[in-house]
């Protein structure tokens, strides 16, 4: 399955995200990434500082799954959850967490909550989103 984020999703992800990683026995660990290095159609790279990385580093080493949502006003304006497998590439003092996105879902309260969106054709997904929202982060 090919994943293709919409341009609006990419714009929101860039403002920063809450990342949830779990141990392989299911203990969730949340960190905040304030610096998003890049976002492409199916990949987001989060530039984590030492403290941001320290929360998730050990768990990520044993279990690559990452779930994330957009921070700040994105929690309400960008009603999406993204999931994929992550890997770390250290660059000086920065830990680059690259997440290859394989699933994304709508989290809008109501009938669309939990709807898996990456299974729709990309254009259909974009039109669906456009019918609900067109705003970009300020």
């Amino acid at each position: 399955m090919t994943v293709k984020l919409t341009e609006r999703m990419k714009a929101w992800i860039k403002i920063g995200c809450h990342l949830n990683v779990a141990t392989k026995t299911g203990i969730p660990l949340v960190t905040v990434s304030r610096n998003v290095k890049s976002v492409s159609d199916d990949e987001a790279v989060f530039a984590l500082s030492q403290d941001e990385y320290s929360v998730i580093g050990a768990a990520l080493a044993e279990n690559p799954w990452v779930a994330f949502g957009v921070s700040r006003a994105g929690g309400i304006r960008a009603c999406f959850q993204f999931k994929g497998k992550g890997s770390i590439d250290k660059e000086g003092d920065i830990y680059n967490l690259k997440v290859k996105i394989s699933e994304f879902y709508c989290t809008k309260p109501g009938c669309y909550a939990g709807t898996r969106l990456d299974t729709k054709p990309a254009q259909e997904c974009e039109e669906w989103e456009h019918g609900l929202w067109t705003d970009l982060p300020k």
Binding site: H18, L19, N20, V21, A22, T23, K24, T25, G26, I27, P28, L29, V30, T31, V32, R34, S49, D51, E52, S54, V55, N63, W65, V66, A67, F68, G69, S71, R72, A73, G74, G75, I76, R77, C79, Q81, K83, T107, K108, P109, G110, C111, A113, G114, L132, W133
Partner: protein, 161 residues
Amino acid sequence: MVKLTNEMKEGLVVPGKGGSLIYLATSSLDGKPNIAAMRYIDTYKDDKLLVADMFLLKTKANLKENPECTITICHPMDSGRDWSFKGKAVDIEYGFPPDFDWHGAKAKDILEGWGDWHNKEPPDEVPPDVVYPKAAQRGIVVLHVEEIYSIEKGKVGEKIQ
């Protein structure tokens, strides 16, 4: 033993009352994480957080098999509310035995207090393109907080309590 501060209690109410949007994070037992933003948040006693089970799907399924849970402030993040709460949670749904007890929270008290949250604290501040057309509450997630950590820039992961 954790004790929520007054500042935390003031920040952990619905955004319409000056509180916060929160992220509710869970995981399946085999380690697939899930995270979703929630509006209905409150505190109970000194060590519990309450979240409405309004449209929960994967979160509910995860909690049915694995109570491990983290709640983190999502918005606003520039208010000094730099908190992440970890512990074990249960979804107290309608029909739970009234005397069901989750670390000191009785199902009867929780359901009577927060079981009709839409009418208790209607989502008046939620933008019309986001608000749900009809409330569909099925219970209340009760997180028994065991640890509190910082998400403040430069101090992420530092233990507060």
